[in-house]
Symmetry: C2
């Protein structure tokens, strides 16, 4: 498909957010039609540019002069908003091109989301906008908003305009977007802009990330995603943009049921949630697990700085919520330092005698405005805490105003004295007054209804900051890895046998080519040959089935270890052979592999599967049952950086075993990281490798490296898989 | 301490909930005083009985004639509400006794929660009410409510009365209780009664459980607890009451920070959260993890039946919330069956052409009242689903009324046709209309604001029902377990050496007495004695350090296994001895234990610690690193029932290993259960055992039993520990 040359996302998306003139194609005189309501929103929002309704049957709509066609509009138009029937859309795109419009929002539904003909219509649409050099948001979307007071663009069909602020939101679901936009007012959440992605046939979440990365009006980026269509590009952009501003993603469709509900017509491309998690970890994305967390993160991250540390102060007027808050802090790895005697006596001087002073500070239910103000001020000024959580349960409705005033006064006084570096969060449990906004000297205090919410926000903020402070990972190239040999081994095997598992010899040769430490071994096809090999290797040895077809050798008793002499080797060969004969699988036996015994290490494993969307997904865990039964495994998307490999090894629960548990020597962790990094190079360069399992790998003590005891590698012709990696 | 004879909780607590006459002692004429506000609440709530303010300085308060003393009140008084200074409380209790009042609510603070003198004052208070036969709620509490329309008792100092309904709530925190009571109206949550427990010096959560178990007005019991003062009594009552009505507990103070925030003056008695979880599991308590879940469970469980199965239908007007809801269902183990072709075509007949029909059913954003009504009716009538979740995102504020009417009509029509057995939950995401109550033909539809909430409620409800359907567990007695021998071994060791670990010989004798299968072995104090033992046992053998002081033998290389001949036994003895010599710990060496090798099983462990509150807490997990590093362990509070033991073994993640993983034979699980049950008997009957660790235990294949390879048992004089089990 040919593609017209395009400007960068920042340039090409600017007309969506800063249009001087907008045409609404499909503008309608009927108040219930979207084509009318779009005009209503634009006017109701007091858009600062010009609005041109386009409708061949009308001369005036909603008080604006209407135009029969795009070309009849005098002067340039920067943005087209299209709400015509699907069958007219392609023609309208041509009209846009003729009018030199480079940005269009297509509200119309009836494309790929309806399946069948809709899919091919969307394909034609996509080709057309690419050819014409038009950037398209939608189809099947709910529109766009820019809350910048100099723009005031509400190009959606809801009249609700959220408050202006510094959070940009894109949503792959119109309804979810609507829910967020309409909730923003109640949550005192200010937005810079909002985009409903619809079917994102052209403009994607990654494009918007690039735009918002540069957007001076945006501090925090929120994405609600059901798919992650360009994971490798997303990773690249998110990693870069995330260092400038936090990116929060609510990724739905984490389960098969959810993917099916998302109406995925590409079931085979359904995203693997382990891959999503891995990718987000790698590029510093803050993942929200629930809708409530998504919105709480938005208010928390946009309105307050990240705390300088983990020491939290809690100020409450009631015990129970203070306890729940303290529990949630501890569960998130935050600490509640007991306040110093000095701070406690400062507080005691003005608080009621029954107040608790240690932290949580409980001012008790009847504390006055002044007591609240002084307590807030004292705690915010204290360098004993890095963040302050204020909890308020309303005892009487008449208390709310004075308490709110006291809190505001305390914050204001402390801010004037020591600045705004210490974040404040509020849990305001005052029935009938739940929507009270706390904006103090222009600063928004995030206000939640649940005592457990602030700890989660703080913990996510701290994790994000820790990520930004890590050095950017590097992808080592390993000049000594002979990837062309590895590639030709796979190519040859594919040519000879087609898709399937490599033989033991091929596996050995491949791993040797990329300098991975496979335990040597010889394949023997008879008992005496096995004995000869064992003698050459030196006793004790291990004897295992060599087979390209039988993968689980242990289950059928085809792994014999610690064989101390010739007779036991002979017996092992015979036992394996007769077991296969008994199972009528003798023809699956390529022979046996005779290897020296390895001992004294911790068993770990490394694996890889290719996800159709994400590409190679590498896995690391302890060997044995830990990955399969206990699920103690870490995944990362290739290519791995040195940082990714280091985290993979350290983030399994079993890592303590590698640190030298109960008197055992610490393992050679760098050697394990190197194995993972070389494997990442391998699967990047040899796409014919569709899956592998190196299990067990013995991690030896420090500076002694590691040894791969068993490996199986599966190959498959590259183009027989649906692979959608980075655009090449 | 002497205790007056008491009636059952049901009888003794009845005057709190159904008083005919109430005296308010400490009634005040000052509107800001609690003594005034209590009267205000009683009157504002339109209490149906008589109210007597008691104040020696007043003749009339809040329009009611005041009395100078309790005794001056004509006729009987059923309930005293006390709000006098702490120093006057004891005298008022005496006055109550003189007036033959048997129920008192003590609002006054300044007791144990303030520490110091308050603790002893509370102790005196407790003794006094026990002596006088008065039941006391509080001190330091916020009061009590009975919403029964024939009673209308608001004996608190908040004027807010929640709607009447079928949920009883007790709260150990006044503020939390207040938050719940005031939120009830907004949540359309009807309460039967509410109790603020305060310091629960007399009436406890367990007492209230017993009362509400019998209360005809109560269907669901909610408890907010910070402590669990009588765990064994709680267990007994909850297990019985829970079979009649669900008990939901929000247990705060799950972390040290939380316990400290709860102001526990009994830090050593701080509850162990693993024990809390174990206890709740054993007695069927539904544990809420957050405040929001606590309240959501209240509305969900009280208003709707438990679904008949896991098949969920979702009806939405918007994609994104449907996807989030579907994900949450799958994450909770619920299923979303694709609707049959027939049901889909029924729906297609009246829904818009772009509607999704498979499940979730997406009626799309512009669906009409009638479309909503018919879709709800169709899904509720379909036997393809066991529960219905309806999600609504408001596109325009003007849609809310017709959509709500459509939903109500659909529910009503379906209920009339097929009854109310299928639960319905609503997620109403309509800004500006969030508090709309859905009560349809007298039935409340639980209404939430987050699309993820209903799945959690359904899953908890199903787990609760599964618990009620299990047979009650039995505690086997094991007549062949010689507990008196076990007891005398411990008593003798205690007398001889005081607290500490049993010797290897004592351990062997003790386990043999209770018929537990310890691998036999002999302790040898010299290398040649070890060789002699090994010869008698038969090679191969294991040789391990025998020591009452050194517990981690592996770390110091003091476990030698698979010793095939005399020389290796001799070497092992020498190696252990010289390692201890090197560590200057030779005097900790009692000798070595020579044992036959055990193989062919799965390594598991059983352990016990005594919690100062809960008593013996038994643990089960896989051996090796699984318990300590991976945390794959199950706890239960003794005494174990057969059901507890069965669940402990099955609920570790590693259970798959015991089922026969990868060709290994399935393990003798009943033998493991028996070990746990015998150990439970042991620790019940021999309180001198303070801790044990049986690790490893080899679980052998089916019907071959198991073998305890290593065991260490610690003893401690019973009264040297702070132990607060069931009152004896």
């Amino acid at each position: 498909m040919l593609q017209a040359p395009r400007h960068s996302p920042v340039e090409s998306l600017t007309p969506f957010f800063h249009p001087r003139a907008i045409a609404v194609i499909g503008a309608s005189r009927h108040a219930t039609h979207i084509g009318y309501r779009l005009l209503e929103s634009l006017q109701g929002g007091r858009f600062t540019g010009r609005i041109f309704p386009v409708n061949p049957q009308a001369t005036e709509i909603a008080g604006l002069p209407a135009f029969p066609s795009l070309k009849s509009i005098p002067g340039p138009v920067d943005l087209a908003i299209i709400a015509v029937p699907p069958s007219s859309v392609l023609a309208v795109i041509d009209d846009c091109a003729a009018k030199q419009i480079t940005a269009a929002i297509l509200i119309t539904a009836g494309f790929a989301e309806t399946g069948g003909l809709g899919i091919s219509l969307e394909q034609q649409l996509r080709e057309k906008v690419l050819q014409q050099g038009i950037r398209l948001i939608g189809p099947n979307c709910f529109g766009l908003m820019n809350l910048d007071p100099t723009v005031r663009l509400n190009a959606t069909y809801t009249p609700a305009m959220p408050p202006a602020g510094r959070v940009a939101i894109a949503s792959e679901s119109g309804g979810l977007g609507l829910a967020v936009v309409t909730a923003a007012q109640r949550m005192n959440l200010g937005l810079s802009s909002f985009v409903s992605l619809g079917n994102h046939t052209d403009v994607t979440a990654s494009d918007l990330l690039e735009y918002w990365e540069q957007d001076q009006a945006t501090d925090v980026i929120l994405l609600y995603l059901e798919t992650l269509a360009e994971p490798q590009r997303f990773r690249q952009i998110a990693e870069r943009a995330g260092r400038k501003k936090p990116i929060v993603v609510l990724k739905a469709g984490t389960t098969k049921a959810g993917q099916s509900a998302a109406g995925s017509h590409t079931a085979a491309l359904a995203t693997n949630d382990a891959a999503v998690n891995a990718l987000f970890t790698q590029c510093g994305v803050i993942r929200a697990n629930r809708l409530e967390e998504f919105l709480s993160l938005a208010t928390g991250l946009s309105a307050q700085p990240v705390p300088g540390g983990r020491k939290i102060g809690i100020l409450t007027n009631s015990g129970g919520p203070g306890v729940l808050c303290a529990d949630s802090c501890a569960a998130e790895g935050l600490t509640l330092p007991e306040l110093s005697k000095q701070t406690q006596s400062t507080l005691a001087a003005f608080l009621p005698p029954t107040a608790a002073l240690r932290n949580p500070v409980d001012v008790i239910g009847f504390a006055t405005e002044t007591q609240h103000a002084k307590a807030v001020e004292t705690m915010l000024k204290s360098d004993e805490i890095d963040a302050l959580i204020i909890l308020h349960v309303s005892v009487r409705a008449t208390d709310n105003d004075p308490v709110a005033a006291g809190i505001a006064k305390g914050i204001s006084t402390a801010r004037q004295a020591v600045g705004r570096h210490k974040p404040v969060y509020l849990c305001w449990m005052a029935e009938g007054d739940l929507e009270r906004p706390f904006t103090i000297d222009g600063e928004t205090i995030p206000t939640y209804s649940q005592p457990e919410t602030p700890a989660r926000i703080i913990s996510q903020a701290l994790a994000y900051r820790a990520w930004t402070q890590q050095p950017t990972g590097k992808i080592p190239r390993y000049a000594d890895a002979d990837l062309s040999t590895a590639k030709s081994i796979c190519a040859k095997a594919l040519a000879e046998r087609g898709a399937g598992w490599l033989t033991t010899e091929e596996t050995q040769a491949l791993l040797a080519a990329i300098q991975l430490p496979l335990v040597p071994g010889a394949v023997a096809t008879g008992a005496e040959e096995a004995v000869t090999s064992a003698r050459a290797i030196g006793f004790p040895v291990a004897v295992k089935l060599a087979s390209r077809q039988i993968l689980h050798k242990t289950e059928i008793g085809a792994v014999h270890v610690d064989l101390a002499n010739e007779q036991t080797v002979r017996d092992a060969f015979d036992a394996i052979k007769s077991r296969l004969a008994q199972d009528h699988k003798l023809d699956a036996m390529d022979g046996v592999l005779v290897q020296p015994m390895v001992s004294g290490g911790v068993e770990v494993m490394a694996g890889m599967t290719r996800d159709p969307l994400f590409g190679p997904l590498l896995a690391f865990g302890l060997g044995g049952i830990h990955v399969e039964i206990l699920g103690d495994v870490q995944f990362r998307v290739a290519p791995l950086t040195d940082r990714d490999a280091a985290q993979m090894v350290r983030e399994i629960k079993g890592y303590r075993l590698l640190q030298g548990y109960r008197g055992r020597p610490p393992a050679d962790v760098p050697a394990l990281e190197e194995v993972l990094l070389r494997l990442s190079r391998l699967v990047e360069e040899v796409p014919e490798i569709s899956e592998f399992d190196l299990n067990p790998i013995f991690a030896l003590p420090k500076e002694q490296g590691c040894k791969i005891v068993d490996a199986r590698i599966r190959i498959e012709a590259k183009n027989s898989r649906r692979f959608n990696g980075a655009p090449s």
